[in-house]
Symmetry: C2
Subunit: 458 residues, 2 copies
């Protein structure tokens, strides 16, 4: 386990990068299990991503104290009874050694380190209460941090924006399993009777690799519902199935991949035309990725490719640049081109837009830009998704205000010919390299014929 | 959908049964989503079981007001923006009609119903805060309810103890999918390299049926760790794999099933001897089930069967009755024979032992009885698990105090010959009928040869 041997070194380097940006100590909590319906049935524990980044292991009910180069671990030993039910647990000292901690203490010692320490508030309400109690002060929620907590949030985002070798190794593992899972989903589609069956095939592979899902899977013939969490629709001939599923490694690193494929194994001509258009936007954006490129420009580039394609298909009228300037593309591509990816599927969005938006920049209120989650120049080591789409969303296309505003630029009759396309999205995970980009999820084909072959099992 | 048409009637009957036991109004909250690591990645929403019982649908951020026969629904309508991301949601009035509510209001109207209302505290901390705020009083945690909340908890347990037709229909569905899932797990075992692969096969089937897992699955070659939540161990020839996995329906009703099977498809002779012994305890208990039988007696019966079998195998010395009286059986069978099953896998254990223990009874401090979760006379309509086991738990068998106490009754040399059995459990879900019992999970074989055939795919 080469990776784990290097963990203390990796964590030390992360602390050193953080220490260059702040001059106060830090306490990060891992969190506790969230209860589901009864005590025996909790949700699977997920440690806070900030904790995971600096502690390296998903320890439950633990905290770490960081001060410059120094790392201290705070956690209680498992009880004797716990061994009966949960088996022997590693000792605190063993864990401390594995992560290269300078010292390790029971949690009762943590208040002694609280003075002047900054933290990031957890979403878990139980842990959040502990944070305010132990720090003995108000702690604002993570998306509106205050004082030194805000300084810490800024420092952590700048450290976590670009991934180190150990992180990239984990992200590759998440990507590899995600690729295999999507392939299993495609292979299961022709015999599946409803969406859930394909979801079972995809998630079964992720579970079989002892990984978890990084987020609630979307597996739907109603791709126009952007965050569809329903799986009960039947698969019918002529449907496109949109699968947005990503694995997460044991240490918390995520993949986030979408493919859209015909349930019959064959795109209709209208589906194929729009699929190829979305793919063109996807490929064009990825080709453009390199350090210093503005992510916002990639979004606008995708919008322009889509707008031009829709003009070529006769669905929109006018010049692509004008259509994008007036947000007409957003009638069919209403979300952003993607987001940061790392320990969170929308990396660090617990901090609001602090990570996604460069200091001094804020969300646009434009219809075609407001959902953009990342607005920074790209840097080497960033991992971003590129995920253009085309959707016919009733809430948009039936909206009387939007219909009248875009009355003349949409050829509604032409659009009606594409009614067998409700939603298409193609999403890959792209690592910014020194000279360009590496698609971590490139092992999963995107071109229409290869997709058809996977569905047809050939 | 015959079942849904009957939902208002079912819910009305449940309210009426409750109203016979209390003379105050009730507010039950459904709860909210629990955050995972970032806002986009929440745990799947699970409504409170008490809410589900009386509201019938898994509504997020909702509450119901019960007063005698009357049912009122409180929830807010989805926002317009929500339609873009999550699709069109049913309207409050439509939901109210579906569950037979007498009236429906936004949540802002709920405080008007708070005076004198009892509730059950939720485990979800966010909702728990809302409960104390809206009721404008202290609300004790659910496992130690106080005042009218305690009266309500008593009333609800007596209503929920015995299942009605709609509940049993759901429980049958959970059982049917669980059976299919376990079969898939057995069929996947011979080619699986590690525990996770079998878990993936089992849970994949549950997901494919659009159901969820009712609890964290146990799929392990270390069955001696009773609540083992690890899945990384390799499957080796000679291992027994213990799979304790149950499905939960969309409306929240659970199954809870364990099978133990050889990774090679063939039990060794020592494994087979202990397997058949555990099965004998399982079958003997189920044969004895009928109304009025004390569940505690079933536990002691299982203990006696196991003790006698271990005497016959030469592992224990003495008379079975004496061995049980001195808790010697608990060296190898340290948990209870089972528990209530319903909307929770340990039904109503959010209320501590209020449901499991008849009024006036409390947990024993005996080694062989302390983990018994149910101590009541059985009644028609109760669903219980029967799950005897045999384990070699290091935390028990290496305990110097226990070793010296049971020095003379254990033949340690003989026991060593059974070292290829770390843990065996056989668990089924048994409905108490008017004259006996119905095993809802009987479609999944228990006898050793049938288990071997399933593993061997024949």
């Amino acid at each position: 386990m080469e990776i784990h041997n290097s963990l203390p070194t990796t964590l030390r380097l992360r602390r050193q990068r953080l220490a260059q940006k702040i001059a106060f100590p830090v306490i990060l909590w891992s969190g506790s299990s969230s209860s589901r319906n009864c005590p025996i049935s909790s949700f699977p524990f997920r440690a806070s991503s900030h904790f995971l980044y600096f502690a390296g292991l998903p320890l439950k009910n633990a905290a770490i104290f960081l001060d410059g180069d120094r790392l201290e671990l705070f956690m209680d030993e498992a009880s004797a009874e716990s061994a009966l039910w949960h088996g022997e647990m590693p000792k605190r000292e063993d864990i401390a050694q594995r992560i290269g901690a300078d010292a390790a203490f029971p949690l009762s010692e943590l208040p002694a380190r609280a003075t002047g320490a900054a933290t990031i508030a957890l979403q878990n309400p139980t842990t959040y209460q502990q944070q305010t109690k132990i720090l003995n002060r108000a702690v604002a929620p993570s998306y509106t941090p205050e004082g030194i907590d805000r300084d810490l949030a800024h420092a952590i985002t700048s450290v976590r924006l670009c991934h180190d070798t150990e992180a990239i190794s984990e992200l590759r593992q998440a990507a590899a399993v995600t690729i295999e899972a999507h392939k299993a989903g495609m292979a299961a589609t022709k015999t599946a009777k409803e969406e859930a069956a394909v979801r079972g095939a995809i998630e079964g592979v992720i579970i079989a690799h002892n990984l978890t899902c990084a987020y609630t899977s979307i597996v739907t013939v109603h791709g126009e519902v952007l965050h569809n969490g329903q799986y009960h629709h039947p698969l019918q001939p002529g449907d496109l199935l949109l699968a947005d599923v990503g694995a997460e490694t044991a240490m918390g690193w995520a993949a986030d991949v979408t493919r859209t494929f015909p349930t019959t194994g064959e795109f209709s001509s209208t589906q194929r035309e729009l699929y190829d258009l979305v793919l063109a936007a996807h490929d064009t954006c990825i080709d453009r990725i390199r350090p210093q490129v503005e992510y916002r420009d990639l979004h606008l580039l995708a919008a322009e490719v889509i707008a031009q394609g829709l003009v070529d298909l006769g669905i929109l009228r006018g010049q692509a640049a004008d259509l994008v300037a007036t947000d007409a593309h957003a009638l069919f591509f209403p979300h952003g081109i993607g987001h940061l990816l790392g320990l969170d599927v929308h990396d660090m969005e617990d901090l609001g837009d602090l990570a996604g938006y460069q200091e001094g920049r804020t969300r646009s209120d434009r219809f075609g830009l407001g959902f953009l989650r990342l607005d920074r120049p790209l840097q080497e080591g960033m991992l971003v998704t590129i995920e253009p789409g085309f959707y016919q969303v009733p809430a948009i296309l039936q909206d009387s205000e939007l219909r009248s505003k875009y009355q003349d630029v949409v050829n509604w009759d032409k659009l009606a010919q594409f009614s067998d396309v409700r939603g298409i999205r193609i999403e890959d995970d792209v690592l910014v390299t020194a000279t360009g980009a590496e698609v971590l999820t490139a092992g999963l084909p995107t071109d229409a014929q290869a997709i058809e072959r996977l569905v047809n099992g050939i």
